[in-house]
Symmetry: D2
Subunit: 465 residues, 4 copies
């Protein structure tokens, strides 16, 4: 996962981009960067690390310009290395261009192989470099045609922002996997992954960039066109709702907090568990736990306290301390749990190791029963559209039944949300607007490439659509 921001036509473009990245820091803590254009020249600064550590006032001062794009990176693919940081900036026949990317190109490796065979060199491991090669190699004359040409060759998920010294271009894949929203602030145009960036910047939400749409910002003009026809089935990533987006963001035209709370309501409706209290795993489990509490009338308690000073490197004592790794982040309010039957709400289970530790920690704190409620279906399949999930072999739900998982985690009961209830917010026939391949194995795009990868790993076939 990554987060992107674009600022077009604002005297403090770099500072606004910095704020936009800051508000989207949850989408990537590995590296960050900003490129700017002042109509004449481009500047760039990028580094491993988090936004506040990378950008000082001094650095922002060097990023002169009225346009800016920025990126925070979560290492989906490509090693942790400065060469893989974005914005990715190149020179080619049309001049200098920087690009930021959120998503994952399914056919990137094939394209890369093809280009290498015809004499291209690659300096990074990121998909974004493939996009720039497509652009540079296009035989089209205008940048508009080149963009159409390049984007049409891509399979997979991409929300992209391109910047030249005087132009900004936003584009989104025709499935609309990743969010991309358009806002404005006085005379400036803002593009971001999430609306929470607009809130901090003080910008106003205008609309989503449409799947298959390209928006050109040039001079005083905004121009929109499609590089793909309008008939494409939407495949918004349902996991943005489950976990990834900030709860205060407005994503895919809905409010994330409300959606998540609804997951909790659904879980409670499908459950008959009697308990004394509902406790979320903070912070991601909070909205669903509130929904569960509202629906079930079982009191909500903040029984796990989150440490706000979690440093990047943490020194563990040699002599082992029980549940140490989890305790650095979470600590139980002992009294709340003593002798109680607890409903514990989390958003998902990936490998199961953290859940197991939290359950143990709560049991040590005195809980009598622990009923784990997951506000999404079992995560059984890896994502190839930009979410950083481990391989199928590491996903506990790919290998174990719900009961086997419960035994592993050592909770008293384990309940997942059903796939049907996941779509509570839009019951009629609209499932096709979302990609839920991580739960169902029904990969909507680039199926041949995806099947190849899955087969290579586990010998399995993916599910029919």
């Amino acid at each position: 996962m990554c987060g992107i921001i674009g600022i077009y036509n604002h005297p403090e473009a770099a500072t606004l981009a910095y704020l936009g990245l800051y508000a989207q820091q949850h989408r990537g803590q590995e590296s960050a960067g900003i490129a700017t254009g002042n109509g004449d020249k481009m500047k760039i600064h990028l580094s491993m690390g988090q936004v506040p550590d990378i950008f000082s006032q001094g650095v922002l001062n060097t990023l002169k310009g009225i346009h800016a794009i920025g990126h925070v990176r979560y290492s989906t693919q490509g090693e942790s290395h400065i060469r893989n940081c974005q914005p990715f900036m190149v020179n080619f026949s049309s001049g200098s261009m920087a690009v930021v990317h959120n998503g994952n190109i399914v056919n990137a490796l094939s394209l890369r192989k093809k280009f290498e065979d015809s004499g291209a060199i690659f300096q990074s491991n990121i998909d974004t470099e493939v996009v720039m090669h497509l652009l540079a190699r296009s035989k089209q004359q205008t940048i508009r045609e080149r963009i159409t040409d390049a984007l049409s060759a891509l399979d997979g998920a991409f929300s992209l922002l391109f910047l030249t010294k005087d132009t900004m271009i936003a584009a989104r894949d025709s499935s609309g996997f990743r969010p991309l929203v358009l806002g404005k602030k006085n005379g400036a145009h803002i593009v971001a992954s999430e609306t929470s960036a607009f809130d901090l910047i003080g910008a106003e939400f205008v609309r989503e960039i449409e799947p298959g749409e390209v928006v050109f910002f040039s001079g005083d003009q905004i121009e929109s066109f499609r590089f793909a026809d309008n008939n494409h089935k939407k495949n918004h990533c349902i996991f943005e709702y489950v976990y990834f987006a900030r709860p205060d963001s407005h994503v895919f035209n809905r409010d994330v907090y409300e959606i998540r709370k609804g997951f909790g309501h659904q879980l409670a409706k499908e459950s008959a568990t009697r308990a004394d209290l509902v406790v979320p795993v903070p912070d991601s489990g909070v909205p669903a736990a509130i929904g569960y509490s509202h629906e079930s009338k079982i009191p909500f308690e903040m029984g796990l306290v989150r440490n706000h000073y979690v440093g990047r490197t943490f020194i563990e004592p040699e002599q082992n301390i029980r549940h140490f790794g989890v305790k650095v982040k979470l600590n139980p309010v002992r009294k709340t749990f003593e002798g109680k039957k607890v409903i514990l709400v989390d958003d998902s289970i990936v490998r199961g190791t953290t859940s197991k530790k939290i359950v143990k920690m709560i049991r040590d704190a005195g809980a009598k029963e622990i009923h784990l409620k997951i506000s999404s279906p079992p995560t059984k399949w890896p994502c190839f559209y930009g979410m950083d999930t481990p391989s199928r072999r590491e996903l506990i739900s790919a290998k174990k039944t719900v009961e086997e998982t419960r035994l592993h985690i050592e909770c008293d009961s384990l309940q997942y949300l059903s796939v049907e209830s996941l779509y509570w917010f839009d019951k009629i026939n609209n499932k096709e607007w979302f990609c839920d391949a991580c739960f169902t194995g029904k990969y909507p795009v680039g199926r041949a490439e995806v099947e190849k990868k899955i087969r290579f790993e586990t010998g399995e076939a993916i599910k029919p659509l």
Copy 2:
């Protein structure tokens, strides 16, 4: 405010001290330090900044020893300067000694003046240096008598830990203003400000260090004695319950989370406000908001989202953005507030500026009515016992009535907890166990010095006991 930790007799003393500081980072983010003793020599490392930035594995490796004391500092008094960081380490006739201090010595300046007149030199602005001078100048022979001598001369709040190369000493003022707890972990003894430190270290809570008690750790022995008689009225700081301590800590023999939730219950009992939802100012307002919701049956919502990546220095754009300062930390979930009557719960109001910004931000998000509920009485008086409150002149409640404050903050109603309800957890006659001078002006200790300072500032008298 500050947080302290002591580890006696553990092979990884420095690492445990580091973890103990880490768990108490909320008690001070300005500087941190650890001193160790290995029976033969002492080592020390201290720096401005936060715990994870100050202590690397390499630094911890240099802090050899089986005993350690540590400190996190919040700049109560004394400038931000390396000379004011703790542990404070000196040599005197009895050898080397390091000390850490949580609290505030009311008569420190008088003592300091006296010592300077008799030829002493001071290298810092912190009270702790006065304590060491008292110890060094004592005419007593044994360290036990010297400690008694020194502590008896102090007026005010102090939870202290002393360390020599082979001995650790814990002491607490006879009022018991600041918390100080004793724990154990295998053969090691642990002393900390809060039990949350024990949780991360994997230590077991044993008991509070008593007000007026000194505990000596030496060789295999723990020895306890009193430097003050047992009849002293306790004056635990009620603000530890209101705001300062972690909700998962056990302080003054009670659970902070439960106490805070009770404040919310009391607020709701004293209120007749009709509303659609109860929203806390995170994180400090969360337990009281939950209590309020439970009592009032008005649904609890996490309508304000806290940014977890707040950096130490934050760059603001020149062009002002509405409520910018608050938005860096908090952002409203717009939909939750739209057209709603909101109960907003916070722990206290100091200057009123932040509350005003939050209220505006929520109103901009569409709230119809905003009723601000404060889970403590109006803060009218500065603290002289170790809490970092501004001067009386800056406290909004010292100058304005509740209604004037409401007008300033621009909320639809404003309700504080009554002083009586503050003591819901112990209704009968136990008020005398707590210091609530910040609410009542009834300063229990060092009244002459306190009166002098208040008079100097505002010309007012303090309240009779």
Copy 3:
């Protein structure tokens, strides 16, 4: 200018590369980097700054491998930016490859333009990227043929080291502009710009890599072949002798210290100046001053003391101090100069500003006469083969006669070495083995491109060969 190092087949390859860069730090202080191969994978680390600041033990530990190449960069061309640091590492059809480069490709811009027109993208401003494109686009099958193909397309100066996970390749342009030497250490092969790198590593000098030669290190084999025929006139850079190389290095099969001392002898032979003492501008003027003193019998004195702690950023007081900029580096031994006639020896004059300040400083120290002796001819033409000289417009000798220069510098006399005397070490007919275009304007290679650049700047023609 830059310095390069290659280590083939040594268990501590990265550490030896680090030492090799350290010994060649004088060839570039702007950035440094090392890439390694362990037969299976490649690693890289690069950063702006100086060698000791960039490579810690921790960083070297991550650079696993038995082969390594390294680079120190002096910003000849290309902006100061991490994207321009070397090693330059890419992936292409033949796999991963890193490259380091000392020199300057005269036709780089033309090649780059051609590649961009055919769809290539560029991520840096350095020539080295062009070399990699040539390699990747070659239609040849074997890496040997590809290298021949690529290098044949280049005009100008290049000493190159390529590294794959298991192969190292050294190559030098057919003019042999920049030095490149081969050494060995136990079973390992070492390639470096200067032999001083061998001295620190403890390696033994074997021979120069020949102009037009490619040396392949692969498995246990070293294989040498030529990519250009043997008849090419050599064009070793005479400025390596004048200023750039370390005096303790063996360059172009001669000892730099002896050559420089010879320059001083020649200067003295061509001079009749009577004086009391000979003083060098340290450190570059020392060997020539010693030679001058030996020849003239005028006593040598170290009358200018060099500050060894010159930091990268130096804070100047607002209130101007006489000769401040020079004094940070040099200070006169006042007594040595008082009332004396001084022979001051420096290696070259570029813009004349530093010389002017030094002369003033010595005169202020009491010198009666100052005779400036330059151990090279007037520098009149910019270098296009890798030396970092300013444009012709900034070279004082391009604009002024010797007498005008003397008047500007305000010395009592000014003498340059004649071009003939420059070749004292090889008088008969061997001038064609060196490039002295910076003195004569006789550019030996890429004359069309060079002429275009000079004409663009000043409207002048270059000199016929």
Copy 4:
């Protein structure tokens, strides 16, 4: 050893102090600090490390004031720790005061013990703290009397600068062990250890601060008085001439470069060695080697090249490289030594390990004979007056005869300067103006304390005066 700087009455006091420290960096690279006064308040900044790394423009901006004192520290005594950095700043009955110290107080430990017994606490291991206790405990009324009182109690070497918010005081022990000079720059007064600081600052040398003199800078006044009578025998440190001071400094009213060159002349006069060349160990051996060459007519050659980029931490390969430690700093010009008889000139031999490595390195470079000439007598006794010499047990000349030392170092001959020739610059009867205890064991001051320490270590007596 340490270096100190004082600036009185200059608008850029902190920047000038920074420059003064920079010029004196050779006197201490372990830590540096500056304290300033603006007539009203004092500011301080200190840190471990070198001057350019510690002081940025931002830091200097915080050091507001028109007066400043600064210090660079070489760890003579006291551990490497921030608490031992100077300026040492305290508060006492007279207000705030900072102090910097170059020298060593022989009776510091006795005084310290006495103070501790009467209830004082110490926070550092440095002598300077004792000075401040003396000042604070003086019963005198005026600061002038207090200073006289305090300084009179000290035995040993001290050049001191005190600073209050509006006053600066310079003082020097009555022996004048360490240098201390007075300069001026426009209306400002400058005090420094060495005149080289004046050169960089652009200040003018006025005179030495006299041994036993105190100079008071206050308001527009400079006032001088003596705290000790004028009859005291001077004991200037001869080692400042041999090694420590910069060659371009004017110390004890003589020019260091000339004195050192004279040592070389004397060595040559006392020698009959036939040789091909004279080579210094740079940089400290250069002036004496020049003198030797002038006297003997044997040509001077810069046969050892010094690496200018020696970093603070240097990573050594595991596989040992011959003479590695020395090679990081020095490298021979091989051709210069091949088959030659070499006179190698160095300033002194302490443990003999470095000399041994250099001799081997030169022999490996092909020298036929190596004759080591030392421009001082054998260093046999440790210094107790501020020079950082090792204990007597580690001094090679304390244990071995000249011939035994030669055998250890493996040179062909070894010659030291005689004690008589050391005083070539002042032949008649003036030996009593210098302390040469390191060569003669004739300790002039604090003999009882010194004898105690020497006896404790080796059982030996010191020499009679």
